[in-house]
């Protein structure tokens, strides 16, 4: 299973509290220690650095599916990939592969929001067949990916992917993309691999659905490869759009090369 760091927040304990790492008393009147918001581990601030990355998120601490860190979510549900991704892709493979403009045409906005709420409340119990329009399901998947606090291709690798896409020599580009992919965290890599292989199958039927690798790259570029907001200005971001598209289109086009057969 994937490693996951604890996510500490400073905490004030009302009663007596002992550190769950070193076992010693946590002194003080306020902010005696830190607590992991995902699993509820209580430790000294100085002990927090020593705790291994073995956070196992607990259901009582996490109430949503959308907007939750990807690794946290898959650890919580003990799955390989987020259930939203698996369920939406399964449904689209079932009845959306020949739908013209799949992933491009948005579903009815209110239905997409309703489906999101259903995922948040019901998890795997969601009844996907209730949503007749397959674009609603595609819309929910895109919304899920857009709402990830850390994008599927994480912020810290953003410039590596963009720089890779700028390489004009095809082999060099693919090598650089592969290197950047190998640096993505386990759960993220597993999910991107699954998604790209699905998008590859969509593009194989582009004579029916009009969604070539190029077109899917335009649609998914800014969703999967979001620019870090704090150190990037709007202009930089706009100039990057074509390389976001290029990076995703290359992954789809050379998926067997990059991820192997799947």
């Amino acid at each position: 299973q994937y490693e996951k760091e604890h996510h500490y927040k400073s905490h004030t304990y009302r009663g007596l509290q002992w550190c769950e790492y070193c076992g010693n008393f946590m002194w003080g009147i306020i902010q005696q220690g830190v607590q992991c918001v995902d699993c509820g581990l209580n430790v000294h601030k100085q002990c927090a650095k020593l705790v291994p990355n073995d956070c196992q998120p607990a259901l009582k601490h996490i109430h949503h599916v959308f907007g939750v860190d990807l690794t946290t979510l898959v650890k919580l549900h003990s799955t390989q990939r987020p259930l939203v991704v698996d369920m939406c892709i399964a449904e689209i493979e079932k009845r959306g592969m020949d739908s013209e403009g799949i992933y491009r045409i948005p579903g009815f906005h209110d239905d997409v929001i309703e489906l999101k709420a259903a995922f948040d409340q019901l998890g795997t119990e969601v009844n996907m067949t209730a949503y007749e329009d397959v674009n609603t399901i595609a819309g929910a998947l895109k919304l899920y990916l857009r709402e990830l606090p850390v994008p599927l291709l994480p912020y810290r690798l953003y410039s590596r992917f963009i720089n890779a896409a700028k390489i004009s020599h095809e082999n060099g580009k693919l090598d650089a993309i592969r290197m950047a992919l190998s640096a993505t965290p386990g759960a993220h890599f597993e999910t991107i691999k699954y998604l790209i292989q699905h998008l590859g199958r969509v593009s194989e039927r582009s004579n029916e659905n009009q969604m070539s690798a190029h077109n899917l790259g335009i649609v998914f570029g800014p969703t999967l490869l979001r620019a870090p907001e704090n150190d990037v200005n709007q202009r930089y971001n706009l100039n990057d759009t074509q390389f976001q598209q290029e990076a995703i289109a290359s992954m789809i086009g050379y998926r067997q090369h990059l991820f192997g057969l799947g």
Partner: protein, 205 residues
């Protein structure tokens, strides 16, 4: 003969993906249509000058990617827009249903000042949304309504010209100048297309 425009209006096109925003611009500015189905990548703009008996007006027409409506449509894009053309696809009911959320997006970002024009595109195809349905939504949203086809060109220049007239009249009304187009503010203007006359109530805007 190149003429200096009296006024430049900023017009933006929004709406769901695949409703034909880029195609409408292409038809109006270059009078061409291409059947390739590439989504728009970026935000771009085109200038087009309209010469009428009343004067020369330039439109700065902004095209957007319909994709990223939730996140990436920058506020800057909506800012200071004089007119907004909101497109839907008459062969896709969902794109009309999404009009309301687009309207609230526009109001939030552009304020209440922009003139909104609702356009039903692709009338050359087998429609699933009737004229009446589109018109009802337009009335609710206080938007000017027309049906167009970027492919055949039907009503495309009329739509842009109507929007220009409305913008001019409204501006002249604001400045207290008698309208140069001859329609006093508060009355309706008419745009006649092949078989239907659309009446726009200027005051309502």
């Amino acid at each position: 003969v190149a003429k200096t425009p009296d006024r430049i209006f900023k017009v933006i096109l929004v709406g769901d993906s695949n409703v034909g925003k880029s195609s409408a611009i292409q038809r109006f500015c270059f009078n061409t249509f291409s059947d390739d189905r590439r989504p728009t990548l970026d935000i771009t703009f085109q200038m087009k000058t309209i010469v009428t008996a009343q004067g020369v007006t330039s439109l700065q027409i902004w095209d957007s990617a319909g994709q990223e409506r939730f996140r990436s449509v920058p506020r800057l894009y909506f800012r200071k827009a004089d007119g907004v053309m909101l497109l839907y696809d008459v062969t896709n009911e969902t794109s009309l249903k999404n009009v309301r959320s687009w309207i609230s997006n526009i109001k939030e970002s552009a304020g209440n000042n922009a003139v909104i024009m609702l356009l039903g595109n692709k009338v050359d195809k087998q429609r699933t949304v009737t004229w009446e349905e589109g018109h009802a939504v337009a009335l609710q949203c206080k938007a000017v309504f027309l049906e167009i086809s970027a492919k055949s060109g039907e009503n495309v220049p009329q739509a842009f010209e109507a929007l220009t007239r409305i913008l001019k009249e409204r501006e002249e009304g604001d400045m207290g100048i008698p309208p140069s187009t001859g329609t006093p503010l508060g009355e309706t203007i008419e745009v006649t297309s092949n078989n239907r006359t659309e009446r726009f109530d200027v005051a309502r805007l």
